[in-house]
């Protein structure tokens, strides 16, 4: 096997698997949970992990893949920042005989044999689940404001698309305002403040593309003298620990889980790919809806 010699170099005596992991960054607690999951899984399987944090820049991810290829790792795990621009890197990896496993977001390539598999949630489905829960809660009628994720990112596009599909069936549900909160708590809060100012008393619900923005919005609502979770329904996606805390406190109504604990799935795929097995192109990660009714029970079992 061509990677054997590299493995020898890296691990004295025994041939440990060496895997490169190019992560986007540490911009949210969700992503940190994903990173930790992959790291601890590598540890427990005795795999040497080359971790590289791109600090939110695709350029850095391209550099990381270069470095992984030059080091002749056995496999590469890539959490792509955006969907395009990976072709040259993926081709180089294939030329070097290194399989690439994509996690949490897909890429657009003409030739889908360039990567081994994608392990990710279905963002469109998440948006749809959120919409369905909200429709039920509002009984099909109400004004919704939307806090979008970073413009152009796959989760922002898909969660918007899924949500719009979900509410399409209900004529009484309308998105009255929609603006980007950049997936960040502070921006989420500022945008929500502006929403509340410009349409006082007309907002029934908030749909946020992630928990951080929802938590910012909750504060804006409180400062405007309203009760989040009661006067204005708040729905978001991700299911991080803070969101469960907020649900227990009655301020957040519902969060759609987007499971970041991809480590086990990812390394299963790595081992299979290195062994030469073919994998399905998309391994869908199962997500669930959590609302206040179950929050208190499950909160202690949450890992992130």
């Amino acid at each position: 096997k061509s990677t054997q010699s590299a493995a020898d170099q890296n691990g004295p005596g025994k041939s440990r698997l060496v895997v490169g992991f190019s992560q986007i960054g540490a911009e949210s607690s969700w992503r940190t949970a994903e990173t930790n999951s992959i790291r601890s899984e590598a540890d427990s399987r005795g795999i040497e992990l080359k971790f590289s944090d791109a600090q939110g820049k695709q350029e850095n991810q391209v550099k990381a893949i270069t470095a992984f290829i030059a080091q002749k790792v056995d496999a590469i795990i890539l959490a792509p920042k955006v969907e395009t621009g990976w072709e040259p890197s993926l081709k180089a990896a294939r030329a070097a005989g290194i399989p690439v496993i994509l996690v949490d977001r897909g890429v657009q390539v003409a030739d889908d044999t360039l990567y081994a598999t994608l392990i990710a949630s279905d963002f469109v489905a998440e948006g749809r689940m959120a919409a369905e829960w909200l429709a039920k809660k509002l009984e099909g009628k109400g004004n919704i404001v939307e806090l979008q994720g970073t413009p152009g990112s796959a989760p922002a596009i898909d969660r918007k698309k899924g949500f719009e599909q979900g509410i399409a069936a209900y004529e009484g549900l309308k998105i009255t305002r929609s603006q980007t909160g950049e997936f960040a708590r502070q921006t989420g809060k500022e945008v929500m403040e502006a929403f509340l100012k410009s349409a006082p008393g007309e907002i029934d619900a908030v749909y946020a593309h992630n928990d951080d923005m929802a938590l910012g919005a909750i504060q804006a609502i409180e400062e405007a003298g309203l009760r989040p979770g009661t006067d204005i329904i708040v729905v978001s996606i991700d299911g991080v620990r803070d969101a469960f805390d907020a649900m227990v406190a009655g301020k957040l109504n519902c969060t759609v889980e987007c499971n970041p604990l991809l480590g086990p799935l990812a390394f299963d795929a790595v081992e299979k790919a290195v062994a030469g097995e073919t994998l399905p192109k998309w391994t869908v990660v199962e997500d669930r809806v959590y609302d206040q009714s179950v929050a208190a029970e499950v909160i202690d079992s949450r890992k992130y």
Binding site: G25, D53, K63
Partner: protein
């Protein structure tokens, strides 16, 4: 001979650090010394490199250009828009985008020169303008076009592991070197940076040169944007955020004095390579969290600048 050596000391110092850094990384990490990685130091940093080449002109003239990152993003968006929505061929779109970039830079240069405004501010305004325009172009902030055959054929050009972006970068370095050393324009750039009022009194064309300097900087950034589209197959309105700071760092590490008048584009090339190595190392090391990467880059920058200060003092002490 020794005089020439002394005059070029900052450049030699930078080269020395580069060699030591490269050697140390090669010894510490298997695979680092490969031709593949070497070529990719240029490939993966071509956009930064191009921006830094343009920035060299600006800093040599005693100015600064904060707009380059935004201009890169704008150029990539406009190119993608022209080709995708406008149906332009790449051979028509590239010159058009280059012309747009140069015009934008020329405008900034003209405002700086005519109204005697600080470059920091004018280019900061330019940065907001270009970034804002790029973001406003499409609601998605990104234009995918990897399926375009023209882009694909360009992105697969490869000579000895060096791809098109790397070649454009190296060509820009060579051109800039010749322009700075062997043209009146180039010498006037140094003269303006050294003492602008003197340059004016000496009858040098300060107005056209200053406008040219900022046009070149924006032109290089635009080329960086084009190269980025070729490399990634997309126009991206949030590309190259704060890349100007890396470009400035590369120029300064390359021995060009921020106050202007002294330095060279060869130094900039070395500076870009040093930054390239520094950012590649964490991927080899493999256990650094992102915060450690940031801290490490900060510290390396510190060590570097301090070394440079010491070498400057040493050189000054010798004269």
């Amino acid at each position: 001979m020794t005089a020439a050596l002394r005059r070029n000391w900052p450049l030699l110092g930078t080269a020395l650090v580069l060699v030591v850094l490269y050697a140390a990384a090669s010894l510490a990490f298997p695979g680092f010394a490969s031709l593949y990685q070497f070529a990719h130091l240029f490939d993966d940093n071509a956009t930064l490199g191009l921006a830094a080449v343009g920035m060299t002109f600006v800093i040599l003239s005693g100015g600064i250009d904060l707009s380059v990152g935004a201009v890169i993003a704008l150029a990539s968006m406009v190119l993608a828009l022209l080709m995708k929505d406008g149906g332009w061929s790449i051979w028509a779109a590239v010159p058009a985008v280059l012309a747009m970039g140069a015009a934008l830079g020329a405008c900034m240069g003209a405002i700086i020169h005519v109204f005697r405004l600080p470059p920091f501010l004018v280019t900061l305004a330019g940065m907001f303008l270009a970034r804002g325009a790029a973001l406003l172009l499409t609601p998605d902030k990104r234009i995918e076009m990897s399926s375009k055959a023209e882009i694909e054929s360009l992105s697969s050009v490869l000579i000895q592991n060096f791809n098109l972006p790397a070649m454009v970068f190296l060509a820009a370095v060579a051109l800039a070197w010749a322009a700075l050393r062997f043209t009146r324009f180039g010498r006037t750039v140094y003269a303006i940076g050294s003492d602008e009022s003197a340059a004016r009194l000496m009858g040098l064309p300060t107005a056209s040169t200053r406008i040219g300097i900022y046009a070149i900087s924006a032109l290089c950034a635009t080329a960086g944007g084009i190269v980025q589209v070729i490399g990634t197959g997309a126009g991206d309105a949030s590309a190259a955020l704060l890349l100007e700071l890396d470009a400035i760092a590369a120029v300064v590490i390359g021995g060009t004095v921020l106050a202007g008048g002294r330095g060279s584009v060869i130094g900039t090339l070395l500076g870009v390579l040093i930054l390239a190595i520094i950012t590649a190392i964490p991927s080899y090391h493999g256990t650094l969290n992102s915060w450690w990467t940031k801290i490490a880059i900060g510290l390396l920058l510190l060590v570097f600048v301090l070394l440079q200060r010491l070498s400057q003092r040493w050189a000054a002490g010798k004269t």
